[in-house]
Amino acid sequence: MSIDTAPSASATALDATSGAATRRDILHRLLMTIGPILAALVIAGCILLAVGVDPLAYYGYVLEKGLFSPLGIQQTLTRMAPLLFLAAGLIVAFRAGMWNLGGDGQFLLGAVTAAASAPVFVEIMPAWLALICSFLIAMVVAMVWSLVPALLRAYQGVNEIITTLMMTFLGTSFANVLVKLAFRDPSTTVPQTRTLPVEDRLPRLFDTTITSGLVLGLATIIIVHLVMTRTAFGLKLRIVGANPRAAVHAGLGVPGLTIAVFAISAGLAGLAGAVDIIGVQGNVRADWNPAYGLAVIPAVFLARMNGFAAIGFVFLLSVLSIGGESAARRLGVPNHFTLVLVSIVLIVLALAEYVDHRFNQSRKA
């Protein structure tokens, strides 16, 4: 994100040294990101060794299944679609300084409404219109679900971390209730919603099994990134996030912006649910909860809320989760080891950040 300076003489003089500094900065940033990830891989490898698993075999299987096998990479890319939407929603919220941790509830409610509405809509209107309608309904339902934390934060200053987490528990349970009671498919014995026929789902890309939801996800996260960095609206949100008192002083309508942030963030989470159902799953089974919302948070943090970096980390997360499932099956490691790996990366990264900060401080002093 380099800012091109005006062609005036003094401005150029001011910025004469900044080119080299920027390059060093980027290098430093890369080192500070990749170094901890490698360290985390080593630490996780030690844990694997301790439980009697060959870490190289584990990582090998992860890469083989998640990245190098044709079927695996297609699954990985398909998995990215909902994750990208969720990441986009988190970027908006986190940049505005609002910690929407209710992604899972919003995701599931979006998924359930999409799953319930899409099979009905395709019978009464053209497929493309039906899908758009389902997307919209899923988005609106998720937005409505975020209204309680949004209003509480905007007008009462109630901490949104607690309210969104509480709402996510309610949301997942409510989604379950809807599947079991309201939208249950009468023609099956297991409790699940009606299944959207494969030909009515989002088209696949070319001759692969990759969902076109991936394209939508990529477009969304790039648009969100550009809106946050290049527009007046994005700047207003960033001001609210960086210094709420400055926002008041500058005359921004902070409560209104707060509600808008929650609506956008939750709406994108709802779209994530819809894209997973309409693109891939086709229906929602009772008790289905992939917990993508929480899994994406570390990826967004690692990316420092930058949309392009987030695409990379979401890809990494997908490789880990698809490959990790396979490696876990083959080596008898619990499936959740992926989460252990991600959390070790986060902890090492935080430590690296702290050490770096202390180092900078002592160098200045």
């Binding site: 800012i3 300076t5 005006a6 007046a232 609206f233 210094n243 002083h249 500058a250």
Partner: protein
Amino acid sequence: MSSQSSSSVEKRDIVALEGVTKRFPGIVANDSINLSIRPGEVHVLLGENGAGKSTLIGMLSGLQQPDEGRILVDGRPTPITSPRHALALGIGTVFQHMMLVPTLTVAENLLLGGSWWQRPRTEELEARVAEITSSLGITVKLHAKVSELSLGEQQQVEIVRAMVRNSRLLILDESTSMLTPKGIEELGALMRRLVEKGLAIVFITHKLKEAAAFGDRISVLKLGRKVGEIPPERFRALGEQEIISEIVELMFGKQKDDPEAAERPIRTVQAQAAPLLQVADLAVAATDNAPGLSSISFDIRPGEILGIAGIDGNGQKQLAEALAGQRTATSGSVRLEGAPIEGLSVGERRQRGLRYLTDDRLGEGTVGTFPVSINFFLKQVGAAPFWRGGVEQRAEIDRRAAELVREYDVRTPSLKTPVARLSGGNIQKVLLARELAEGAKVVIFNKPTYGLDLANTLASRQRIRDTAARGLAVLLISTDLEELLSMCDRIAVIANGALVGTVANADDARTKVGRLMIGLAA
């Protein structure tokens, strides 16, 4: 009194400060301060909010380290590295806000901070506390919960805690601010008994009466500098009224060698011109931590500078915020060029030409992590030509920002530098550029030179004079009487959220304003 008969060895300073300077980003909080603290003396530190008292205490209690100068303990230079170290040296601090755990009993609070591997020595403590309290003539309920005690009792517990830890120097930071008049009297008596036992006490306050009543020695701080000291000999020779008037002279008076002192400018304000800003009966409700405003009325004509004088924290900030639209007024009217604006939002008022230059430059004036260029336009986000169709026009922003940087002489490494990295004076220039840019009609300056060095202070004052000379109406809020006297046409004094009087800036303005500020009739 034992202090009179004590030998010179006893009279040696327990703690002495030599040329201590402490800087914070953009602010010199303490400027080469010398201070000697002696046993058997209540040393009063007097000054307004922001004079640097809290920073000084922070350094004595080990929370902060001086940037320059040194602290001597028992005559030896000793860096006080942590609060624990300060306690070990015998320096105990009772902070402005109570530092007791309300859900624990008094005894448990007193035992906090012991070694974690040892059992709390309750019996030992009880004996020790009994010894201390009986010699001081107070009672402390050891087994009562702290939350059940009054504020005065809690304070006694804190003092006893410092005594249990063998403090030789007790620092009381604004200790009377939350006490009842009776509690204040009791605290005064307690301090007297403590110094009679040979302790040294540093008593921080901004109330003149207390300083005169309880002190042995008074040091007056003003904007980070020590502007005067009344030693014990002089103190005893003077009566209470004489001491107060001497302090007033130190706090508000003109210093002989003050380089900032400038002659009052002779300006011509057209008395018959219609006022640009008219405020009538403005009132704001008080909140938990801020005083309200009541029936504020004044007019400012084009080209006029109206000063608002007063001790800090008497509603100055509330007044500025109410005018700018950041704080809702409960009643009253504000008119800009005759048109009512009291119902408008912050942005709409700015649009009409009302500008507010905040005193909290980093807290609300700027977004510290954002580049200098963006901070110029923080109040214009979305406006053409810097944004078109909601999209940022980076070239346009940088072009104008570079212009403003030149015009206002902002010293910044680049336009992309986060504004928090600049010095206070340069941040202030960014704010000046932002608020004085095209379209300004009425400008509210809140403490515009607070914490700036001399060069930037003078530059800021010149900007304000130029602003008025351009025919704008200026409201200048300041706690620096010198500043107001050198710039204003009229000076209004605010106390407890109300304007207690307005004085034309003539020859006797200094005394009149000074008297109004301490609650006497002009």
